[in-house]
């Protein structure tokens, strides 16, 4: 018989290729959170998240915006005295919550990522304007205007192309992708 998996184990399991130390090594010293440039926008500091995972507070962790606020700058990973790959753990948490489909209301991150991947799978390349559709609705009116102004500015300055590009070997590319995950069926 299989023992029921603890949350901490689940997270450990999906940190597939990470070569950092397991989070059980955490000293709770706070170096990560002291270093993090985005910490003040997080509900919980990275250190607290590790503590919560170890305490198997799954619901609380899922409800936190911390890992969606991670900028993936890896500064925590560099400094961690226990050599835990914290940034990677944040990715793992994102994956976990996407997979379980449970995350905080009003977050843009999940949709954005999903849309981003869909786009890549469909064209092989990324293209900013297409993405706007996914996040603009969640923006405040003021932000939307901002975004519009900026976009036009970019287009005029020739920095932003108006049409998306596609890669040539798209068919094979998509077969390749489907060998890994069945998401983003080509439209």
């Amino acid at each position: 018989m299989v023992d029921e998996l603890f949350f901490s184990h689940e997270i450990a399991n999906i940190m597939y290729a990470s070569h950092g130390e397991p989070i059980t090594n955490c000293l709770q010293c706070g170096t990560c959170s002291g270093t993090c440039p985005a910490v003040e926008f997080m509900d919980h500091t990275p250190r607290q998240i590790i503590g919560m995972i170890r305490a198997d507070l799954k619901e609380e962790v899922m409800a936190s915006n911390t890992y969606w606020t991670c900028a993936s700058c890896f500064h925590c990973t560099v400094r961690c005295p226990a050599e835990i790959d914290i940034a990677d753990m944040m990715y793992a948490l994102k994956r976990y919550s996407m997979w379980k489909g449970q995350f905080r209301e009003g977050l843009i991150g999940p949709d954005f990522s999903e849309a981003f991947v869909k786009m890549i799978v469909n064209s092989g390349r990324s293209f900013e304007p297409l993405l706007a559709a996914t996040y603009l609705p969640k923006f405040s009116a003021r932000d939307i205007i901002q975004e519009g102004l900026m976009a036009t500015g970019l287009v005029l300055s020739g920095k932003m192309p108006l049409l998306p590009k596609k890669i040539k070997g798209l068919k094979k590319f998509q077969q390749m992708v489907r060998r890994i995950i069945p998401i983003g069926e080509p439209s």
Partner: protein, 297 residues
């Protein structure tokens, strides 16, 4: 003539056009041939890992595989692409199981990756392969007295402990002095600009941008030099929003290191994509000009 498998990355086709043109121009001037990898795909920046790690690695692996075929080093001008490629490559070498999964997927595209090609960032190619000496010899318009804030950003450095000092690197400074500019020493040079948050968490990103601008400006930099299209856009395009958000009046030009190199090498601004920026880099030109006059005297 040194050759490299060049991976521009999506941004260099849109927001980072001027990075691409300046990179090409400078490479040309330094006898470096950047052969674009044929039919490359997006590396996924930071947006894949949240969805599927294996997919993320595979997408990067596809580009690496194509590079391996050529037997040339894989060179990326975008720090984010570079970091993804670097990780993927080193994991491929260390983790046979991962490699197997990825190669299974790559078969669909008749590709195979073994992690043998070296993954490198454009700036490091110029510095190590061309060499500062060589660059110095080719400088015609030294940017005398131009105070430049070298902005490394995060992705180009982390988290590679085995590599150069990740907390306090010096090679960018070295390059800038080589082209006659005056690099300023400021603490935030490796601090993250929030590039990956600019869409998903605007507030946080703007605050991170603010701190960088503030540190650079407090050290009276004339310009911030970047090595990554994400950083560049974040620091430049969003300055207005920062000002609106925090009531500041920042207006500091942000240039790609290749653009500054180009000027110093006497390449015409047009070919460096200068003139398209939102915050004019005209002052840069002035410097180059002065330099020229001085020489002519």
């Amino acid at each position: 003539m040194k050759q490299y498998a060049y991976y521009p990355g999506c941004s260099l086709e849109s927001l980072g056009k001027s990075y691409n043109s300046s990179a090409m121009a400078v490479a040309g001037a330094l006898d470096v041939e950047l052969k674009e990898i044929e039919d490359w795909n997006c590396c996924g920046a930071t947006a894949y890992f949240p969805v599927d790690e294996l997919l993320a690695y595979t997408l990067t692996a596809r580009n690496l595989a194509k590079a391996e075929k050529t037997g040339l080093d894989f060179v990326a001008p975008c720090s984010a692409c570079y970091k993804n490629a670097y990780f993927t490559n080193s994991y491929l070498q260390r983790d046979a199981d991962l490699a197997e999964h990825i190669n299974y997927a790559l078969e669909a595209d008749n590709l195979h990756v073994s992690g043998t090609s070296k993954v490198r960032h454009l700036i490091e190619v110029f510095i190590n392969d061309v060499g500062l000496e060589e660059i110095k010899n080719k400088v015609t318009h030294p940017l005398k007295g131009l105070r430049v804030a070298p902005y490394y950003g995060c992705q180009i450095l982390r988290p590679r402990k085995d590599h150069e000092d990740v907390e306090n690197p010096q090679y960018f400074e070295g390059l800038l002095s080589t082209i006659g500019a005056e690099p300023i020493e400021y603490a935030s040079k490796t601090r993250c600009c929030g590039g990956s948050l600019i869409i998903t968490n605007r507030k946080a990103a703007l605050d991170m941008v603010r701190i960088l601008l503030l540190d650079a400006i407090n050290h009276n930099a004339d310009v911030i030099a970047t090595t990554c299209p994400m950083c560049n856009v974040n620091l430049e395009v969003y300055q207005n929003q920062v000002n609106r958000e925090f009531g500041t009046q920042y207006s500091i030009p942000v240039m790609y290191f290749t653009q500054l190199m180009g000027l110093a090498l006497g390449i015409v601004p047009g070919n460096l994509g200068i003139g398209k920026e939102q915050i004019s880099g005209a002052s840069m030109l002035a410097f180059a000009q002065n330099a020229k006059q001085e020489r002519n005297l």
